[in-house]
């Protein structure tokens, strides 16, 4: 039997490193850190999160505090979001872009008064900080909040679990954040996540992270969940993963992320790659990110080719795997725009084998985000 081996590299440890090991976490290299890929098993953890509450350690991600005079207008030079009109404490999805409109990273940015709290991907955070420092004016300062851990509690019972520890969090609406206090420590909590479920992301001082993780998992509805289930959950939710489904060769239009470009920015432009991006919005991109339903049971993974009926290469798979919720393989990838309509029959080629597939609407599993006032 063959298996992948990991090349030797220097890896950082998460603030919760020993906490994960003590709970049976199997540590693997990811984004420059040793991170838990699973505890009891990916499928069990995945299904637990869909039914109860899963605790994820995402402290590898970069937490940035960006402040200084004119910070909102300055950020608009790097990203297509509306930072000037951004409402207080409302996380917004945005994209760092290259001059040609290629995606450098995807991120969440939240206005906190005059300042912005930005969470970027772990594997790209150092490059992001360099880019932002190079391009932002001197009066705008980026603090990399290395002393903060980041936890995510996700799932339909997440609010119930967290409310018992930190009263008031269940008052937050979806995509709303706020400051909280717990055991003498300041927390920043937003109702957001990367699983398609209701849930929270909690920025906590690293020295208090284990105590908070213990308090959460003391509730039998909450279990620690590894990176493996994080990946299968976000794939079912149709959410792209940077470095796989997004990179500098993809634009927001190709990636089907135009919701991140609001009306004013569409009219005014002024973000990197605006000419190309606005032209793609007008005329359609050459290729588009879509989902795939695949016949049979075998997973089709990143790197597989997408072929049309005549065997021509018309795209590629950027994420793929077995869906624990649907009990069948699903995938995400790019395909030439004329073939991107849901239902289009295509072939996928992996290791010389052909698979029948159809373009699928995403998400594969419906989102169940919290709606204020809606009954559960």
């Amino acid at each position: 039997m063959s298996s992948e081996t990991n090349p030797g590299e220097t890896l950082d440890k998460l603030p919760l490193d020993s906490w994960h090991r003590a709970r049976g976490g199997r540590m693997v290299p990811f984004a420059g850190y040793e991170m838990p890929v699973q505890y009891e098993g990916i499928i069990a953890e995945h299904l637990w999160t869909r039914e109860n509450a899963g605790l994820f350690d995402v402290s590898h991600m970069g937490q940035l505090f960006v402040h200084g005079r004119g910070v909102d207008a300055a950020l608009e030079k790097l990203m297509p979001g509306d930072f000037q009109a951004a409402a207080d404490m409302k996380p917004k999805y945005s994209l760092l872009l290259e001059e040609d409109g290629g995606i450098v990273d995807d991120l969440m940015a939240t206005r906190r008064g005059e300042d912005f709290y930005i969470v970027v991907n772990g594997a790209t955070k150092h490059g992001d900080i360099d880019l932002m420092q190079r391009l932002l004016p001197d009066e705008v300062v980026i603090d990399h909040m290395k002393e903060q851990a980041l936890l995510a509690l996700q799932g339909p019972r997440a609010a119930e679990v967290l409310e018992t520890i930190i009263p008031g969090v269940s008052e937050l609406g979806f995509m709303q954040g706020g400051p909280f206090h717990w055991h003498g420590r300041s927390l920043w909590i937003s109702r957001s996540g990367y699983t398609g479920e209701d849930g929270f992301e909690i920025s906590v001082p690293a020295i208090g992270a284990a105590e908070l993780a213990d308090a959460i998992t003391a509730n039998e509805l909450a279990k620690p969940i590894g990176l493996g289930a994080r990946d299968s959950l976000r794939l079912e939710a149709g959410l792209p993963l940077y470095g796989h489904d997004l990179d500098t060769r993809t634009t927001p239009v190709m990636a089907d992320l135009v919701f991140a470009i609001n009306k004013r920015r569409r009219l005014d432009g002024g973000f990197p790659g605006a000419m190309r991006i606005l032209a793609e919005m007008e005329n359609g991109p050459a290729e588009k990110r879509v989902g795939f339903d695949i016949d049979g049971r075998q997973p089709v993974r990143e790197g597989a080719l997408v072929l049309d009926g005549e065997g021509n290469e018309v795209g590629k798979i950027t994420s793929g795997g077995f869906s624990p919720s649907l009990q069948r393989p699903i995938a995400m990838g790019y395909v030439a725009t004329p073939l991107a309509e849901p239902g289009t029959a295509l072939k996928l080629e992996q290791r010389g084998k052909l698979f029948d597939a159809r373009v699928a609407a995403m998400p594969f599993v419906p989102h169940r985000y919290y709606r204020k006032g809606a009954s559960a």
Binding site: M1, G228, P299
Partner: protein, 123 residues
């Protein structure tokens, strides 16, 4: 009946000139939840070291190599239908295929059970 293991974590159980092949408990543990298994068809000729079967977990795809040469006399349709058997009973019901041994002396280079279990502890 005797049991052998490879450094690639396959096991071979030999009964007369028939060898049953699967992956070890250590291998299934490392792979995690197994969601797909493909076994060779009866009649297929395999040479020692050749890719013989496929096993995929949620995270990764792996090949299962034939530890010995011979002709496949049976592929386990049960693991193809329910791959989780490879997790629950890797060295029993979760076997992949049986073959008729070409050359029993090929077994000489394999580890016996004690040697394998000791070696796995060092990984």
């Amino acid at each position: 009946m005797s049991l052998y293991f490879t450094k690639e974590h396959e096991w071979v159980r030999v009964d007369g000139d028939t060898a049953t092949v699967g992956i070890s408990d250590h291998a299934q543990e490392q792979l995690g939840d197994i969601v797909f298994a493909e076994v060779p068809e009866t009649g297929k000729r395999l040479t020692k070291g050749q890719e013989a079967a496929v096993v995929e977990s949620v995270k990764a795809a792996s090949d299962v190599y034939s530890p010995v040469s011979g002709e496949v006399v049976d592929g386990n349709s049960k693991v193809a239908d329910d791959p989780s058997i490879v997790n629950s009973d890797p060295e029993g019901e979760g076997w992949f295929f049986k073959l008729k041994l070409d050359n029993p002396s090929e077994l000489d280079g394999l580890m016996d059970e004690n040697a394998y279990r000791e070696w796995v502890k060092t990984l």
